[in-house]
Symmetry: C2
Subunit: 409 residues, 2 copies
């Protein structure tokens, strides 16, 4: 393939098909955020851009509910935020306890292993919350540098209670790291109140922004650990000791910031404060309740215990077909394909151990609205009926509407 | 700073000031690229998006002039591309020879050092090209895994001839890595013809696209080295052995791709092929010649030898003031400030050893046009005159026009 092999007239104009994004992310992007994304690019050391960075940092601190000075956006997706947190505070030989109840806990363990750490995985079956007693036991059997857990496990739909775990970490003299990729902007996140030392998120979940940035925050304790390192951070790109010189007062050039994505993130954060965080969280809860009621009225099963469900990420067991025509895993692909092709709706499949066994329906950020719930319930009813699944027709939308109406009263 | 501390009405609507970006990047973004950036986000596993990734890969291969299967965009800025190339082929203890004639060669050496490699720096003073004999000598004194050099040193404005260096690497049994951040899309880059094994670029230079992605390419030899590693890649986020499963046929989820930035990069690459790469390179050369003629007519000095100047990045010595009112370094800040405030033009200062001694004027991508040259020459003439620099007035624009007119004949 050389230059001669490219005929630009054979490329169609960019025209992404209309999609309602109800998977595990990316989620629907707010029109104002898309508009901000397309604002004219300016320089990464332009005084006007530096002022925007200050604004963005104040917005991110308010979003994380923290006073942490070192709060900024990593120039990469949520996984880069995960790696940035781990790589900055861990050194070879450090002991790390990782709570693993899904793919993303496993990913943190994998990254810490690559950094040469002594990784202790405290696992529970996918779909359950972590067991604080097991975490305490793991912390008690050796001097631990870091406890890493996931707040909202995107792979399973389980919401983890955090305060007890961060207290255990602090009592053990360990830092705490919390993955807030799917939680931030969907459910309350209280970094300072909960005593979280490191947290990261992603733009493409409840912030209604395209993927590409990872908001992160480091507590003063985490910064002290960073400053006291014996070895340099193995990643130059993610080295927070250098990044804080760009995001801080010195404004020392490190790498060229992704200007337009930072425009978009500022707009996305502003939208959250215009609505108000409590109202945003209530909106996610309301539409989650309506969706859950509708799915159950269809006869579908929600395998995650009600007390630990993530409102913005709903896990649904794929039904067995009455006809026996195709196994569960085959219905998975067929149904999701039909939703995408016939209805323009994306929902997610299972990940890791849950692949082929569950669907994941996201109601995140700008996607957490009544229209999303109505469209996905209607589409599921039609397509499951067509596939021969033994669903109950005609009851899903009324069940969802009953929730909305009860809220309006 | 808590949620209560944010009053969204105190944030002005996003409105970046109009800027003509003539620094070392970011460069002016083409309007069609900004439009593509704001297209509706779709999912990273959507068939429509996977088709776009295929198109983008064919465009990037044609841009790099390579048949390399493993050619894709790293989800980070140019420096992430640098780190991705190094981290995937290097292991602790590997010997690496780095050509260092500017900041970015130094950055490669720093990253390789952090990876635990035995790094041999072959340095020449900033502003000069590398000495092939010195590179050969360094390759000859030990079994070397990788030779890393910079094609267009953004910090100094020096263009490096590559074919002789890659031949030396190959003869020594080493892989070759070439930084093409500022060169790609501005001057010819011939990955296959030159026998380059690894290369990376950035979107914010000659591709007329905002910062945020790093096109990279790995030769089959580089992929073989990756596959034969004794240890896992220390960065999970940048691990090409996993990324190639997403960008390749398997389409295995790794991390959520930065969808909208990839839209923008596809559009930016298409624009280059619509104009044609030879025409694009000729345009950069032409406006470089006009700018050089104008700067010299002003009485300014171009410290880089003519034979090794990067057309798209012009290094200019900051003049000493006749009045002695302020030293060279003070004029630097004053003049760049006045250009930005009074004329809306951004040019770059010096980096590293050249800080306070030179300006860097970029004519990159969509910025490489006659209007850019005219505006910056006019603004420099006015502001240098105002500052009391002993420039020659009234001759810069005619000198530039003579170049354009000679081309038209």
């Amino acid at each position: 393939m050389t230059q001669a092999g490219i005929d630009p007239t054979r490329f169609a104009p960019l025209s992404p098909p209309p999609r309602l994004l109800l998977g595990p992310g990316p989620s629907p992007v707010h029109p104002r955020v898309l508009q901000a994304l397309a604002a004219p690019t300016i320089g990464h050391l332009d005084p006007a851009f530096l002022a925007l960075m200050d604004e963005l940092q104040s917005l991110l601190r308010a979003l994380f509910r923290t006073e942490n000075e070192l709060t900024f956006a990593v120039s990469g997706t949520g996984s880069a935020g995960m790696e940035a947190c781990l790589v900055n505070v861990l050194e070879p030989g450090d002991r790390v306890v990782v709570g693993e109840n899904g793919v993303f806990g496993g990913r943190m363990a994998e990254i810490a292993t690559r950094l040469g750490c002594d990784v202790v995985r405290v696992s529970v079956p996918f779909g359950q919350a972590l067991d604080p007693d097991a975490i305490a036991a793991a912390l008690g059997t050796g001097k631990t540098k870091l406890l890493a857990v996931v707040h909202a496990e995107t792979s399973t739909g389980v919401l983890q209670s955090i305060p007890e775990l961060t207290r255990l970490a602090r009592d053990a003299g360990a830092l705490s790291l919390v993955d807030c990729v799917t939680s931030l902007g969907g459910v309350p996140v209280e970094i300072d109140e909960w005593g979280v030392d490191l947290a990261y998120s992603g733009t493409q979940k409840c912030l209604s922004c395209p993927p590409g940035l990872a908001p992160v925050t480091f507590s003063p304790r985490a910064v002290a650990v960073l400053r006291a390192r014996r070895s340099k951070v193995s990643s130059w790109y993610l080295d927070a000791s250098m990044l804080l010189q760009y995001w801080g007062r010195e404004r020392v050039y490190h790498h060229t910031a992704p200007i337009n994505m930072l425009y978009a993130l500022r707009e996305a954060a502003l939208l959250l404060f215009e609505e108000g965080l409590p109202a945003v969280h209530a909106r996610h809860r309301l539409h989650h309740r309506a969706l859950s009621a509708g799915l159950q009225a269809l006869g579908l099963e929600l395998p995650v215990a009600e007390a630990v469900r993530i409102p913005q990420l709903n896990t649904v067991r794929i039904p067995q077909l009455d006809t026996g025509r195709s196994p569960q895993a085959q219905l998975d692909g067929e149904l999701r394909g039909a939703l995408l092709r016939e209805h323009g709706i994306e929902i997610g499949g299972g990940l890791g151990a849950m692949k082929g066994r569950v669907w994941r329906i996201g109601l995140m950020g700008h996607g957490a609205r009544r229209e999303s719930v109505e469209r996905v319930l209607d589409a599921l009813e039609r397509e499951l009926g067509r596939a021969g699944a033994g669903i109950t027709a005609g009851r899903a939308l009324p069940a969802a509407r009953a929730i909305w109406e009860s809220e309006e009263r």
